[in-house]
Amino acid sequence: MSKTRDAILRRLRDNRPTDQPLPSPYRKPLGWDSEQRIASFTERMRAVRGDVYRTTPADWARTAAKLCEERGLKQALVGHGPIADQFVADASDSVDIRRYAQPVEEWKPTLFRAVDVAVTGCRAGLAESGSLVLWPDRNEPRLMSLVPPVHIAVLDATRLYENFAEMLAVEQWAAGGMPTNALLISGPSKTADIEQTLAYGIHGPKSLITLIVE
């Protein structure tokens, strides 16, 4: 196939346009303080039917457990690390908790059928678009925020950026190397494929709950 590659690249080189535009780095500073960021995040997230609660480091796990109880979510999935440990410590009386501990191939049918809710942390949040930023890893695998019908995400309020451009600039993602998978998640799964009418919960979570920890 390298013959094809070389032929394509050669044609591109032979036909290089002369006009050379230089995009300036894109920034969109809004000058929002913490309260404005939380307000904007909450408003945007609620506009797409995401739930948002403000809570504290000591209380978030009990808040999450209460939400599970209220909504009849019995089987909860957690990964490893501080978020998982605190949820296990504070919530194991009210929900059945399972740890994501084996490769997905070994328990796919259970993951797809029996889990009601997953609890994960997140790397950051984006205020302007109401997005959660996730870098799933070996502690919190990728399918946790996708397969169970409910996803509870714990967001540290100090990690709420104004927007995507600000986050990339401050955190220097490109320089630090990208993870296997990075995600922006803005609300529960939805579609508008039938008559342009919004319907929620098509393939991913039907509800997305953000706990903002302050």
Binding site: T4, K190, I194, G204
Partner: protein, 473 residues
């Protein structure tokens, strides 16, 4: 049947399908309203468009180096890169990957490039089950139809039609015309597919050279499931989708989602940089990227046509096109419909194949005004029209130039010019046209197919003006 006749036949069919035209009208006016809400400030919109244009144009200038950098980065990250000249090669590459992985079932996210290559049919003929997992794509796969729009593939169907389709294929599930219920039905059917598929296939919205990252934009989560749950992920994209830096992505993402569907951002923005790493518990064990040319390097030969390649496939030009709303996507008979289709397809496939498409444009300019990367679509379409009937232009890379030149038409324009160039002949002609107006034929070819024939006035404008006392020579 030649391409023009075939096109007219499809147009005829579309114009007689009132239900479909109602579906289009209501869907498109809704999308337009949502988009306009996202851009309350015109100065901001123009600044963002300029930024997006510059990012795309810059990437096209540096394209060969960026593709090399992308390949090197992806390879370093553990993603295999494949190059394909044409659809056959691309399909072959994908089939070989699936064979090597003994993959028999595939879940697929939406990909217009795979429509270009006819991938589904190709794989199915080799005994591989391919399930489209985007709801719109799933619907048209059941209906055995191609997409009618590049962003909303099932836009031409209303809820009753979808309900009947589901009922035909899944008679055991309760019949419903409720959109939420229909969505739930699709969820149930497709969940099972995600859990069992051997491989996932997706498109790519932006490929970042700097980091070796494949970016995917979607709302449903089917794209994430297709690229995460199966053990193999194959992405396919046109070579023009590469961008230079990760910091180029935020403005493109913003203007793409706001333009395409009127959302400030989509539910999921998925950035994939490597396959599953040691110790990770899910994600595909192997990730492949297929880079397809399929005529794109030829477009690059010409600085004016090059603008076409800035396209980010948002579909906005389609949503605003007054011709598309009357015809729908299928009438065009090509993978890409609407203004971008008219500009792209004759370049990709040749004027001699699909040049007639250029006639499906009123040059109203709406598409050029909304395009987020400022592609001068009306200018491109006009140029293609000229080249369709005139092979004389110098140094043009277009295939099939002059293919639509029609002797009768060319002769009548020549006569027209003669008449207008000679004052005496012109006056004679005007006199004949007005005094002999009763001789005007009732049928005037294509014109009278959907309209009544025009009749010349009793007196020429010149005569009327003179009667009113105007004098000028």
């Amino acid at each position: 049947m030649n391409q023009t006749e075939a096109f007219h036949e499809r147009i005829d069919e579309a114009l007689h399908n009132d239900q479909m035209r109602r579906n289009f009208r209501s869907a498109l006016s809704g999308i337009q309203a949502k988009r306009e809400q996202q851009f309350p400030d015109d100065a901001q919109l123009q600044a963002l468009r300029e930024q997006a244009r510059a990012v795309r144009a810059n990437a096209l200038v540096k394209q060969p180096e960026l593709l090399e950098q992308l390949e090197a980065k992806l390879t370093e990250n553990g993603i295999r890169v494949h190059w394909a000249e044409n659809p056959e090669q691309a399909n072959q590459i994908i089939a070989d990957i699936l064979d090597a992985a003994t993959a028999k079932t595939v879940v697929k996210g939406k990909s217009m490039v795979s429509e270009e290559t006819g991938l589904n049919t190709y794989l199915e003929q080799r005994g591989i089950e391919v399930v489209e997992s985007d709801l719109g794509e799933f619907i048209i796969q059941l209906a055995e139809e191609p997409p009618s729009h590049i962003v909303a593939p099932a836009i031409h169907k209303n809820r009753q039609e979808v309900a009947q389709l589901f009922h035909r294929f899944y008679p055991d599930l309760p019949y419903t015309e409720d959109i939420n219920q229909l969505t739930e039905t699709a969820r149930q059917i497709l969940r099972d597919k995600f859990a069992h598929a051997d491989a996932g296939i997706s498109g790519v919205n932006f490929a970042v050279a700097e980091t070796g990252t494949l970016c995917l934009v979607e709302n449903e989560g089917n794209g994430r499931l297709s690229t995460t749950a199966p053990r193999v992920h194959i992405a396919i994209t046109g070579i023009e989708k590469v961008v230079e830096k990760l910091s180029d992505v935020p403005p493109l993402l913003e203007i793409l989602t706001k333009s395409a569907t009127g959302q400030p951002i989509t539910t999921y923005f998925n950035m994939i940089s490597r396959p599953r790493q040691a110790g990770e518990l899910d994600g595909p064990q192997a990730v492949h990227l297929v880079l397809l040319d399929n005529g794109r390097t030829r477009i690059k030969v010409d600085e004016q046509l090059l603008d076409t390649l800035r396209c980010i496939r948002c579909g906005t030009c389609i949503n605003y096109c007054p011709v598309y709303v009357q015809l729908g996507g299928h009438a065009y008979g090509t993978v890409y419909p609407g203004p971008i289709g008219i500009a792209l397809e004759p370049q990709r496939l040749g004027i001699d194949q699909v040049g007639s498409l250029t006639s499906a444009c009123t040059l109203c300019g709406a598409c050029g005004q909304v395009c987020p990367v400022e592609i001068p679509l009306p200018k491109l379409i006009n140029r293609l029209r000229a080249e369709a009937v005139n092979a004389g232009r110098e140094a043009s890379p277009l295939i099939g130039r002059g293919a639509l030149r029609n002797k009768t038409e060319a002769t009548s324009w020549k006569l027209w010019r003669l008449v207008y160039a000679n004052a005496f002949v012109y006056r004679l002609f005007a006199l004949a046209a007005t005094r002999l107006r009763w001789l005007t034929p009732k049928k005037l070819g294509g014109w009278t197919r959907y309209r009544s024939a025009p009749k010349p006035a009793k007196r020429t404008l010149n005569e009327l003006a003179r009667q009113k006392g105007f004098r000028s020579e």
